[in-house]
Symmetry: C2
Subunit: 520 residues, 2 copies
């Protein structure tokens, strides 16, 4: 027999997911949904309208704007459709926005404010907490050069984080401006020749040098200020002995850049104090001055909206990886008091960047040739969720499960069904036990489902027109001091016999609800 079974054994698929993907269930789904809805509500209060673009776009319409440009083509799930055209799963929500604006430019009311929440996909190396699909939650304003847009991004992000229950002081929104860094590079005599001249002399183009400098600064958190200096100069060897080539700048050039990077730290202080220090570093470079003026306007508008440096600060270390940003860039970080010893020197624990964004002017131009200014940010829902869970802000308490009506007599299914229907009509989540198990196991099922109440009725109850209500929450509290689980399940004081007619009102009372039969 065993042999025959083996011979006939069909080839079965494995019940597994491709790497980098995961399932989410129960409260985890509801918590994320709630977070997204809270954020979207803030977006709408700021006048942003929802947009939903499809998962699939033409590959050339999406372009290649992933942070890691060294390996173009990688990072995206791309394939040919049945027309033999290359299509791809969107890797962010900004590229589809650019396509949408270009496609509908004659109909859209400009400036156009839209928000979009959706899944994006990256064919990158998965790791702990790093998945191949994740949610983005973006808002962007298209068609305005006003710095009021950029100020609004900061104000909105601060409001959204507070709407999620993060106290003031528990987060910081940070602004910087690419133009300021460009000005400082020019002042330092870095990346000043034209791209053509660089090509003729066979040296790195200004764009390449700028990108290298940005990438070095971006590593500040990991390598410290000395590490950044090494990376800007001759290179850096890490603890494992791996060597990273440096940008090869001269000492005085490095000094200027380090001065820029630390302009936010020395003495701390208000946004205008940081601006004064940056202004000195930039000198009279036109690009740099423009950047300083933009930051000053943003500061002024934030002050008018009563938003101080405790919520939004200017931080020259913020560079953001993406190449397409052309002006102000944004980031938001969470932090919390930490006495576990894992925190930083200031006794605070940082959760890294949970929001990122900036101003970009060339994305729509790719399609139409016309420059369309745009600016926005993306709230990292999954990172925020992880941080808030870590801080005990959400999770912990399991959502209450449904009332479970147990089945003592299989021939009475219709009677049990009637009880469930009555409870549901009163908007009380309820279910009939649908398996074949004895009462003890049905109650264990109810317990695992997080049910607050179980309803029990056998021949005694049916003959006397009663039902038994078991308060599982109370039982759970009592059980904390009791070793034997079966003991509390049997304890008389967690259950009571009531008239069948009083089922809905009694359960509603136990759950602290009004027994409105017409709630649906």
């Amino acid at each position: 027999m065993a042999k025959r079974a083996k011979a006939n054994k069909p080839k079965r698929p494995k019940a597994i997911l491709p790497r980098g993907f995961s399932d989410l269930s129960g409260d985890d789904v509801l918590e994320r949904q709630q977070m997204i809805e809270t954020i979207a509500e803030v977006y709408r209060t700021y006048g942003f309208q929802p947009l939903e673009t499809p998962t699939i776009e033409y590959l050339d319409a999406l372009g290649k704007f992933l942070p890691d440009k060294d390996r173009p083509g990688e990072g995206v799930f791309a394939f040919r459709d049945d027309d033999e055209d290359w299509v791809a799963l969107r890797y962010d929500l900004t590229a589809p926005l650019a396509r949408y604006v270009a496609q509908n430019r004659n109909e859209l009311t400009m400036p156009y404010r839209r928000y979009q929440v959706g899944l994006v996909y990256r064919q990158e190396k998965p790791g702990p907490g790093r998945f191949r699909q994740f949610y983005q939650c973006d808002f962007d304003t298209v068609g305005s050069r006003s710095m009021a847009v950029d100020a609004e991004v900061c104000a909105l992000v601060a409001d959204a984080l507070e709407a999620l229950g993060i106290e003031r002081g528990g987060y910081t929104v940070k602004i910087n401006n690419r133009k300021v860094l460009n000005g400082i590079l020019t002042q330092a005599g870095i990346a000043t020749i034209s791209d053509d001249a660089a090509a003729a002399e066979d040296v790195a183009s200004p764009a390449t040098v700028r990108a290298q400098v940005l990438r070095s600064i971006d590593k500040l958190d990991r390598v410290g200020i000395g590490g950044v200096a090494d990376l800007l100069g001759k290179g850096r060897e890490d603890e494992s002995g791996d060597f990273t080539d440096g940008v090869g700048l001269a000492e005085d050039q490095i000094e200027r850049i380090i001065g820029f990077v630390t302009a936010g730290e020395t003495g701390g202080g208000s946004r205008s104090e940081v601006l004064d220090r940056l202004s000195d570093l930039v000198g009279d470079d036109p690009d740099g001055r423009e950047g300083i003026d933009e930051l000053a306007t943003i500061d002024e508008l934030l002050v008018a909206a009563d938003i101080g440096a405790d919520r939004v600060e200017i931080d020259p270390t913020v560079v953001r990886g993406l190449d397409y940003y052309t002006g102000p860039v944004f980031e938001a970080v969470l932090s919390a008091d930490d006495d576990s010893g894992q925190g930083g020197a200031d006794g605070r624990r940082s959760y890294g960047s949970v929001v990122g964004g900036g101003r970009y002017d060339d994305l729509v131009k790719r399609f139409t040739g016309q420059e369309v200014p745009a600016c926005g940010a993306s709230i990292g829902v999954d990172r925020l969720l992880a941080a808030l869970r870590d801080r005990g802000r959400i999770g912990g308490d399991e959502t209450q499960g449904p009332v479970v009506v147990t089945v003592m007599d299989g021939d009475r299914l219709a009677d049990y069904q009637a009880m469930v229907a009555e409870l549901r009509r009163a908007a009380i989540p309820a279910e009939l036990f649908l398996g074949k198990k004895n009462l003890g196991n049905q109650l264990k099922y109810a317990d695992r489902r997080g049910s607050p109440v179980a309803v029990i009725a056998g021949s005694d109850e049916f003959s006397t027109g009663t039902v038994v209500i078991k308060n599982l929450r109370y039982g759970k509290e009592v059980s904390l001091g009791i070793e034997d689980r079966d003991e509390w399940l049997k304890a008389a004081d967690v259950q009571e016999t009531i008239a069948r007619d009083a089922l809905v009102s009694t359960v509603a009372e136990l759950l602290g609800r009004s027994a409105d039969e017409d709630a649906s």
Copy 2:
């Protein structure tokens, strides 16, 4: 110049979507979201928990369960990932559920009730209203053979449709049972030989014949009862002259099947009357009897939940295309009184099937070899939306846009920004006008955004500590009788000058809200 510009012209991507995909914006997004949340709330009231599986699964894990089995492999977006494994975008939410249950069978509390809302993808021929990505909104109970599950599917669907505002009488939930049809086929001497015997004799296998019969019945709506009889017999020629081959059944066999199909119609009546007629047709065939008994149990449970034939009826014409259903199948249709002449013979207009589902026992078995009973249904959100829009149930009234604070003096941006911030803090959606336009065009922008109120302040107002409030809604009502739009924009009675301090309270009053400064 023109020549040079041409020579340098970069190759630009086209701002278009692949065929079969579309964008959705504004109210359309919000209406769908609201519909999904209303349905999910009903799912939770019935004790279903949310699940989110990823968009991408291994191709062999998804299997091939699309309705059109003639072209296996087609219909799915499949491609190789970077491990050279075949993966695919999910084409429904049932196949991923089977994979999830098989993967987590040791941890799941059975019976397991889950709901899932998400996008699914089909590489099928797109057409009007037929897209390559669309939402499904499923609920399933896994691990129970009880007909209480099937009865619950009907009750839930009816409750969900009513929660969406569809009046009783405006929808019908329909049940049928595959086993009854199988029994009738056996009684009629159709599809009675074994699959092996069929292969040996080189005739169509019973499974093939059953599928052909199902497909013929499924065309009832389009071809009428005579057309079905033709399709079961020698074949049918349609109006365009195209000929469809028939199943080739004998006259008396066709008669029995037509008797079955029309058993729901003749005389109409209660569920038990239809059951009586079906019972006569089935005779003593064991399969058929089991099907009748199952339907009778479902009827009994529905009666106990006080759900009559006005909400859930037994309809033998319901077959559902999918091969994997093994017992009861479900469908829900919407209808409405129709005086446009487009309705049916009864003067009612039908919107076709908006919900479909059934019982399936073999999906998890594919992975584990163990039969796991399951039953559920899928609510077609997009079809429902289209039907409700058509019936004027939703849409029409545009959602109110944000209050627009106009900009008369670019140097006063901070002051305007402060007004916007105050309004937002009172939870009043508001935005600063971010473009560079004169007041008239700013007011036109506000109108296109559906703004209820515009706020205006120039040097006069700033010097006297006032602002002007323009009631755009009132203006709109007045304008219905005015030819020249500019006229009403200037009309004095749609605007008033108020103290700057009274901005929030006045706007709140106009919008019929309480002016709670701390609403956020």
